[in-house]
């Protein structure tokens, strides 16, 4: 489904602070599977994830999404792919303060121009699935860490993406909430979605629902998928 061909990412190229975060990575990420990118801090997990999710471009190499080469796409086409294909869950929930939970969830769908009433129904259904219906009208400042994380998950799903990308999703969750997160990931898998997670949390990469673990160190693959 996602194919990385000799991908490199260099920051501050040509300057004394030049840093090569990804060095010639070749990788295939399978469809409808849960893949974990595992490695210590600074190994290039998040950089690789941002390239896969079309949030940044590689310095060299290509990325193919369902056999379509996407790294060369002009920005406006890339935006469209990012919006419709990927759902992003970050380390921090990154919710927008000052507006309600419901508004936060609906935000990524606004550019698609869907009728507001229909969008609202979908957003409420999404919140209901993760037991957050009662929080729809609440301001995000009032949420607990676990609730905020679940709202972020509902927001990531609002455009019904085929691929869900999660960057260290359990980094700020306790053990109970981390297990709850993995249960939700299992539901994604059951729905036929592809999930890519970066983590160095054993609770994540040792989970039975994970299909492939990719080990990264110093921007290189240590070995093939598990």
């Amino acid at each position: 489904m996602i194919e990385l061909l000799n991908v490199r990412k260099v920051f501050n190229a040509g300057s004394p602070s030049e840093f090569s975060a990804i060095n010639g990575v070749n990788l295939n990420i399978a469809e409808n599977k849960v893949t974990v990118l595992k490695g210590p801090s600074g190994s290039g997990k998040t950089t690789l994830l941002s390239i896969v999710g079309c949030m940044s471009r590689p310095s060299a190499g290509r990325v193919k999404l369902q056999d379509r080469e996407i790294t060369s796409l002009p920005e406006r086409f890339l935006t469209d792919i990012r919006r419709k294909t990927f759902g992003f869950i970050f380390q921090q929930p990154n919710l927008i303060k000052g507006i309600s939970v419901l508004e936060n969830v609906m935000l990524p769908a606004y550019p698609l121009g869907e009728k507001r009433s229909e969008l609202k129904v979908r957003a409420l259904n999404g919140l209901d699935k993760l037991n957050l219906s009662s929080k729809a009208a609440s301001k995000v400042e009032w949420l607990s860490g676990g609730e905020a994380q679940r709202v972020a998950i509902v927001r990531a799903l609002i455009n019904d993406p085929q691929i869900i990308i999660a960057d260290e999703p359990t980094a700020h969750l306790d053990t109970k909430l981390s297990y709850r997160f993995m249960e939700i990931v299992d539901q994604f898998k059951a729905q036929g979605k592809t999930v890519i997670i970066t983590s160095h949390d054993p609770l994540v990469y040792d989970s039975s629902i994970v299909d492939d673990v990719v080990n990264l160190r110093d921007g290189r693959l240590e070995d093939g998928p598990k």
Binding site: L5, R8, P58, S59, A60, T71, S72, L73, P74, E75
Partner: protein, 337 residues
Amino acid sequence: MILNPTVIANLLASYVSSGMLIYAAYYGAQILKYWNIESGDELQLVLERKTYLISTVLSFVFGLQLLSLFLYIFTADALAPLFVGAMCGAGTLNVNGFGYPTLELKILNFILAGLWLVLNHADNQGYDYPLIKKKYLLLVVITPFIAVETVLESFYFLGMRADVITSCCGSLFSSEKAEGLGSEIASLPAKQMLWVFYGGMLVTLLSGLFFYVKRKGGYLYAGMSLAMFGISLVAIVSAISLYIYELPTHHCPFCIIMQDYNYIGYLLYVLLFGAVVTGMGSGLLLPFRGIHSLKQVLDDFIGKLALASVLLYALFTAVVSYQIVSSSLEISYEVIY
């Protein structure tokens, strides 16, 4: 040099445009040489990123180039009171040998810049840079013309001397004078020229509408729109201007931009230049309709260009017709020199 705000604006616009164009042409040459969308090399990815910057910069530069033609005409008109003998822009452009060549190049570059903008817009509709080499090839062709224009414009403005006695438009565009292109055009018979103008315009508009509706005959319309541009310019000098001035002997294409004539010249020229660029632009894009990534969008864009061109020519004809009908001048017979 005459230190006038309009002169400084003209020169600044030219220097900024030329500087940016030369920078862009350098990368354009690199793209022509090294571009390979199949490759994942670092250079290819750098070029992909650069092309956003370059095409954005060029959109502004060529937009400035379109405006600079009218700024140049405006400046020539505004400076006329400073030169003995000059009654309008025609005389100002004649104060040295660089005024008219600069104007001719500005007209040519206006059309080329317009066509580049059309090509760039079409290229931006495709996900795989379908016209990138074509548009940068056109850029590499245009850049020397704009650089030469800047040099000539510099010689023109920097070489202006206030003590020069120049010719007035009555002399430059006289139907009684035997020499010079302006006089030769002015001496064409007005009535016959109007027949040619209206006949040509009718054929052009019909071919444009046929192309818009049937999507056939696009090259014919592009050619017709260019031919009609030339015919219209000739018609302005030899016939249309007479009705605007209500004088059977005054053929100047510059006085019509003056306040005395409600700046009608600006409107006529904007319509005319807009029509030729959109008309030729529609023809320019025709060979690329089969490109996979443009199939969905290009036909619609070509249709819009053709329709815009037809409407602009129709509006131009309407304004010209209004000027003729509302004029007190009646040409019952003409003396042909």
